[in-house]
């Protein structure tokens, strides 16, 4: 009897000690899933999801927040998150995102730098009392620069189709009556 209990207890103690050591030694700070979730988000930093920036939303999702809160990601983005997390895909009917970019009216800009401070992705260049401008290719269209502008000279413009971003359309064929 004792010859059985003794080695079993010893084994359990040894394994327990190993597990305890490993949990300290190989501890991972933060969840690696957050980075993956963040990579699946469009990085517009717009805050439309209700969280301050994409990183914050990624952390919230990891803690159980809904995955269909990101308008710039649209349905495709939500579906990617669903795939990544093994959750249910979003209900269809999410609005298609419409890419846009900010444009500063150069006639009215007074060079107050407020929009530069508001821009989360450093897409606005300029200095105090110098004309500011938005670098079109860097702008994510988050609209965060619009409210701070005292001159109301920032407008959001839809990104138009050009020869570099043109895409083949989904093949749709008219229905013909067959006699």
């Amino acid at each position: 009897m004792l010859t059985v209990i003794f080695p079993m207890t010893l084994g359990a103690a040894a394994l327990g000690a190993m597990l305890g050591w490993a949990s300290v030694r190989f501890r991972v700070d933060g969840s690696p899933l957050i980075d993956e979730i963040e990579n699946a988000l469009p990085q517009t930093q717009c805050g439309q999801c209700g969280f301050p920036g994409c990183r914050a939303y990624a952390e919230a999702i990891e803690n159980g927040a809904r995955i269909d809160l990101c308008p710039p990601g649209g349905e495709a983005g939500a579906r990617r998150l669903a795939d990544l997390l093994g959750r249910d895909p979003p209900a269809p009917g999410m609005e298609e995102p419409s890419p846009q970019a900010a444009v500063i009216d150069e006639q009215r800009c007074i060079g107050c730098t407020l929009c530069i401070q508001a821009c989360p992705v450093d897409a606005i260049v300029g200095a105090a009392k110098q004309l500011h401008t938005v670098v079109g290719t860097l702008c994510t269209g988050c609209e965060l620069c619009v409210p701070p502008c005292p001159m109301e000279c920032i407008q959001m413009k839809a990104v138009t189709e050009n020869i570099d971003n043109w895409a083949w359309k989904y093949p749709v064929f008219g229905i013909r009556r067959v006699n």
């Binding site: 517009t44 930093q45 994409c54 992705v121 450093d122 895409a167």
Partner: protein
């Protein structure tokens, strides 16, 4: 000598319609009234404009400079006056505008100063640079800059260069006529490529339905001995695809993850070899190319056409029939409908087909896919188009990529054999565009994220620096005790002064009242 020929899987044998446009020799297209030269005619970076409206340019003068290594220069196709550098309709399925140089020819056709390239005296790097600045790009259709294909892989020795004269697309005869009439130039161009790449063999592949071209090329190749081989390959579409031709001639299959030089092979179109030869012998940059004009026209023929000739003026040369309902650029299998007749002939325009319902009847209605597998049998890349279609149709691009969507060359064999008449290639093009858009988005998101991170780090650093400065300031004032007592003394003095003044004011006020009372009103 007998040579073992290899074969590629799949393929189709459509009617060729080639004979009509080979009856007359290559014609020289007349000078058009305006030339619209797009600055982005090649794969890679758009050329940087080097002329302004009002400038006079000479034929062959550089009007757009290559931007980076994978890019190519653009030259004036005739002497004349630059009317504008502006956005004009592109020869592209979208018909969207692209930056172009508009030239009004003066009719003199005066060449700029040309120098033959003595490449024997130059380093290979310099020679490649010269080719880039001469605007030499692949004339088979993809317009990939040729200089970028002219460096061998470091690890693998070059075994063969393949000169592509297969021309498998129906209707198209520009390479056929070029080989018949200018074989000498093509072979000399191939010899120049051989000097740069140093392969053991030069294999010239021509489909066996072009006996005149094979005879002419064999004759021209004799001069270079047994290293040059002209090989007739069985006519089967798409034998002219680079990977298919390499497979047929060398038996090598290029995997998706590798480029052909890593396997010791490189492939060039005959037109490319010819224009490279014209550049090294006469110093002429690429300003014109052979374009087949065929289909529903009275006079089907090949024309040596200046780059930038508007399609309206070009197709008029063939007198298109009255029932023509559109024009195709490229062949009927892989071409696209020209979006507008103001678009110009570009370096990748090999063929223009006038379309009519008699030639191309409207496609029958699309029926559901029955997964019969005919498309998989026809696919020269051994893909499974029915699986690709299934996922492209529901816009699940990731799954389509698992079935090697990126490998599809859009040759159209699958759609040709499909019993349900599904326009499969259109679905694959749509899916590929979707993949491209997603990649662009991802790149943009990645760069935005790195900027957010740097911004946060910068803000944290600024905050830390400010806190440090304040702490240092507080410490500094704490250390200087004598200064502190002096400040304290000054504050004390000021307080006393203030008190005395206030007391004085109070006295003044009292006396003032009295004084006022004493005054007559």
């Amino acid at each position: 000598m007998f040579r073992k020929l290899f074969s590629f899987k799949g393929g189709i044998k459509p009617d060729t319609y080639k004979a009509v446009s080979t009856r007359e020799p290559i014609g020289i297209a007349p000078l058009p009234s305006t030339l619209i030269v797009p600055l982005h005619q090649h794969a890679g970076g758009r050329a940087i404009p080097r002329v302004r409206a009002g400038d006079r340019v000479l034929k062959g003068q550089c009007i757009g400079e290559a931007d980076g290594w994978i890019s190519s220069a653009v030259h004036a196709p005739a002497s004349g006056k630059v009317l504008a550098v502006e956005n004009r309709m592109a020869a592209h399925p979208s018909g969207l505008p692209t930056l172009s140089v508009v030239i009004e020819p003066d009719g003199l056709d005066e060449w700029a100063c040309l120098h033959p390239l003595r490449y024997q005296a130059l380093s290979p790097e310099k020679t490649r640079e010269c080719l880039r600045d001469a605007g030499i790009v692949g004339l088979g259709g993809a317009a990939f800059p040729t200089h970028a294909k002219l460096s061998a892989a470091k690890q693998t020795a070059m075994e063969a260069i393949v000169i592509n004269g297969a021309e498998c697309e129906p209707f198209m005869t520009c390479d056929d006529m070029l080989m018949r009439e200018r074989a000498e130039g093509i072979v000399s161009g191939a010899a120049f490529f051989r000097e740069l790449l140093d392969p053991k063999k030069v294999l010239i592949g021509i489909e066996d339905n072009k006996p005149e071209a094979i005879a002419a090329m064999s004759e021209a190749a004799k001069r270079f001995g047994s290293d040059f081989e002209v090989i007739a390959i069985p006519a089967r579409y798409p034998a002219g695809g680079a990977k298919q031709l390499i497979r047929a001639l060398t038996g090598k299959e290029i995997p998706a993850s590798r480029r052909s030089p890593e396997m010791g092979v490189q492939c060039f179109n005959v037109g490319t070899a010819y224009s490279a030869w014209r550049f090294i012998t006469f110093g002429e940059p690429l300003v014109s190319r052979i374009v087949t004009l065929t289909g529903n026209v009275e006079n089907a023929r090949n024309w040596e056409t200046r780059i930038g000739t508007p399609f309206r003026e070009f197709v008029a040369l063939g007198h298109p029939g009255h029932d023509t309902n559109g024009f195709l650029m490229g062949g009927p299998m892989m071409g696209f409908e020209i979006p507008g007749m103001d678009a110009p002939v570009v370096k990748s325009s090999n063929c223009v087909i006038a379309a009519a319902t008699s030639l191309f009847p409207p496609p029958p209605a699309e029926m559901p896919c029955i997964r019969c597998g005919s498309c998989a049998e026809a696919c020269p890349h051994e893909l499974q188009p029915f699986e690709l279609y299934r996922f492209a149709r529901v816009k699940n691009f990731d799954r389509a990529r698992e079935f090697a969507l990126d490998e599809c060359i859009e040759c159209g064999c699958c759609a040709y054999v499909c019993p349900s008449r599904i326009p499969l290639v259109q679905y694959f093009r749509f899916a590929k565009s979707g993949v491209q858009a997603r990649l662009r988005e991802k790149e943009k998101a990645e760069s935005a994220r790195s900027r957010v991170e740097r911004r946060k780090a910068r803000e944290a650093r600024a905050k830390a620096e400010k806190a440090e400065r304040l702490a240092a300031g507080a410490q500094a004032s704490g250390m200087d005790a004598s200064k502190k007592t002096a400040v304290q003394a000054a504050i004390e003095r000021a307080r006393q002064d203030r008190e005395t003044i206030q007391a004085g004011n109070a006295n003044d006020a009292e006396t003032g009242d009295r004084y006022d009372e004493g005054q007559p009103r």
